[in-house]
């Protein structure tokens, strides 16, 4: 027979693990227009006054103005080996653009919230001089709120670069869409 005491001990362990997982992240205000990833892999122009999540990874820049549930921009460089963590698949520099798009969409669908996403745009794109792709999807939360996520992606010898903007379709998405496009245009690999 499992006792309440046993369950409460298990509960404490779970809670501790979860708190542990969140403890290292802090938010800092973006006060310079040009921002560089901690591992110095890339830089980009981002809007000042937003806040940046610091301490989670060296290979990504994650910023938001009003909070991640309202909008966020994420710029990320992943090694080939870790390009599609949910799928457990690596990328290769010679993937065709459409193959990259298929993998990117499959990776998104691994997220329970985006399992039933709808593709709005899926096409080749130029990312600050790098040939790649742009994918835009929409999806709804359990409460019926519709979000859109726009992702630019390209491959190089070292890995996969993704530039993401997400916001609710209603009202927020268009507010910072131009700023995101400016960020994409300014993206530079070191």
């Amino acid at each position: 027979m499992i006792t309440n005491r046993y369950i409460m001990v298990s509960l404490l362990i779970v809670t501790t693990l979860m708190i542990e997982g969140c403890a290292q992240v802090t938010w800092v205000k973006v006060d310079k227009p040009t921002i560089t990833s901690s591992d110095k892999t890339f830089s980009a122009e981002v809007p000042t006054g937003w806040v940046q999540k610091v301490g989670e990874t060296d290979q990504a820049i994650y910023i938001t103005r009003d909070g991640p549930l309202i909008e966020f921009v994420e710029l990320k460089h992943a090694d080939h080996e870790h390009a599609f963590p949910e799928l457990g698949k690596a990328s290769q520099p010679d993937l065709l653009d459409s193959e990259l798009a298929d993998l990117l969409l499959a990776e998104l669908r691994s997220d329970e919230v985006m399992e039933h996403l709808e593709v709005i745009e899926n096409a080749p794109a130029d990312i600050s001089g790098n040939p790649g792709i742009v994918v835009q999807v929409k999806f709804r939360t359990d409460f019926g709120l519709q979000y859109e996520r726009r992702i630019y992606a390209f491959l190089n010898q070292e890995g996969l670069c993704t530039l993401t903007y997400q916001a609710p379709s209603l009202h927020y998405l268009p507010l910072y869409a131009d700023q995101f496009e400016a960020t994409v245009a300014s993206f530079q690999l070191k």
């Binding site: 027979m1 309440n4 298929d102 993998l103 039933h116 999806f139 359990d142 019926g144």
Partner: protein, 383 residues
């Protein structure tokens, strides 16, 4: 990943809690019920289930095929005629092996589950089992037995299970206690026999699902893809069969006709989630591929191409060639072959296939990609 970890821990804790559950005496429903007829405790369950119905609809999770839904509803109504449609069947647009019943009578069939079955008697087996969970009020009974519900609910609320944050959702989707599952087997079996289905299909259904779950080495925590749970079902149905093995209707032709679109859409869903093994498992079986239209070889080829293991390029080309022979106007095959030849740097073959693709589908959604590939080819060929 974190979400899966949390869910794993929760599922484990939950299973530990329900392992000690004992069933109470609650009478089965014998006629349709309204929320107003229920106790406060049970009506709360129904309201939670209503919320889950709404969430699934809002997330766009439902598969919209009115004919298919009506076909499944007809099977359920035949199994539980006295409930007069109170058990409502829906299909979820997911390629996974799962089906579940909520306390308010909503039964959900995952597209993947439906597509993997082989005849109507097998569909009826699953529906009869799920219907029994509702009719015998297993959610209420499980909730009462997990009385210390407070402890379990605290675990669940704190960790924030993403579906509905609720014990009932978990038990519906991941299974009830052993006793309740065996009761659902028994009740479902009786209904299957009474409706005139071949009851030998009951055990076969779960043998088939078990073989598939093992072959795919699936990590999905759902009841219908869990090896031990499926093995229990087989044992349970074999025992029931010993008492009375009854032949009856298989409904194979009707099943194949009504699920034709759903089975193709499942292949699309599988590929869209990079579940290549699942497509290969189904379509590399000669008997199964005959249940699909001739162009299904395209999906087999595409699964090999995307998986990319040693020898898969050759397997993909072989499957695509079969697709071209059987369905020469099916455009996606040309696009897929074009990509293979482009990667091989066989630019002439690639150009031929891409051009045919665009001729067959001028409005193709991926036209921009193919045009980019044609530009690259043109450059490489120095034209």
């Amino acid at each position: 990943m974190k979400c899966r970890f949390q869910l794993g821990v929760l599922t484990l804790l939950y299973l530990i809690v329900v392992a000690c559950a004992v069933t109470g005496s609650v009478q089965p429903y014998s006629a349709p019920k309204q929320i107003a007829d229920l106790s406060e405790e049970e009506s709360r369950l129904w309201h939670q289930a209503d919320d889950m119905d709404a969430q699934l609809a809002k997330r766009g999770a439902l598969y919209a095929d009115a004919d298919l839904t009506s076909y499944l509803q007809g099977i359920m109504d035949g199994l539980y005629p006295e409930l007069d449609g109170a058990i409502r069947v829906n299909v979820i647009k997911a390629p996974t092996l799962n089906a579940f019943a909520l306390p308010n009578g909503s039964v959900y069939f995952h597209l993947g589950m439906l597509a993997r079955l082989q005849n109507e008697a097998q569909v009826a087996t699953v529906l009869a089992h799920e219907g029994a969970h509702f009719v015998n009020r297993h959610s209420l009974r499980q909730m009462r037995t997990v009385k210390s519900g407070t402890a379990a609910a605290q675990v669940i609320n704190i960790a924030g299970v993403p579906l509905v944050g609720d014990l009932i959702a978990i038990s519906s989707m991941y299974g009830y206690s052993r006793d309740l599952e065996r009761e659902a087997d028994r009740v479902g079996w009786d209904r299957l026999v009474a409706a005139g289905y071949d009851s030998r299909e009951a055990a076969r259904t779960f043998e088939h699902l078990l073989a598939e779950a093992k072959a795919l080495d699936t990590k999905e925590p759902f009841f219908f893809s869990s090896d031990p749970r499926l093995a229990e079902r087989i044992e349970s149905f074999r025992e029931l069969e010993r008492g009375q093995s009854v032949g009856g209707s298989l409904g194979r032709h009707q099943f194949l006709t009504m699920t034709a679109n759903a089975r193709i859409d499942t292949l699309e869903e599988d590929l869209g989630r990079d579940r290549c093994e699942s497509v290969i498992l189904v379509l590399s079986d000669r008997d199964r591929i005959d249940e699909y239209p001739p162009y299904a070889f395209y999906y087999l080829g595409e699964a090999y191409r995307r998986r990319g293991d040693e020898g898969d390029r050759e397997r993909a080309i072989e499957a695509f060639q079969k697709a071209l022979e059987a369905a020469p106007d099916f455009a996606p095959t040309y696009q897929a072959l074009g990509e293979i030849y482009l990667k091989d740097k066989d630019y002439v073959e690639a150009r031929t296939h891409f051009s045919t693709y665009l001729r067959l589908t001028p409005e193709a959604a991926d036209r921009a990609y193919v045009e980019r590939y044609l530009e690259i080819i043109q450059k490489e060929l120095g034209q």
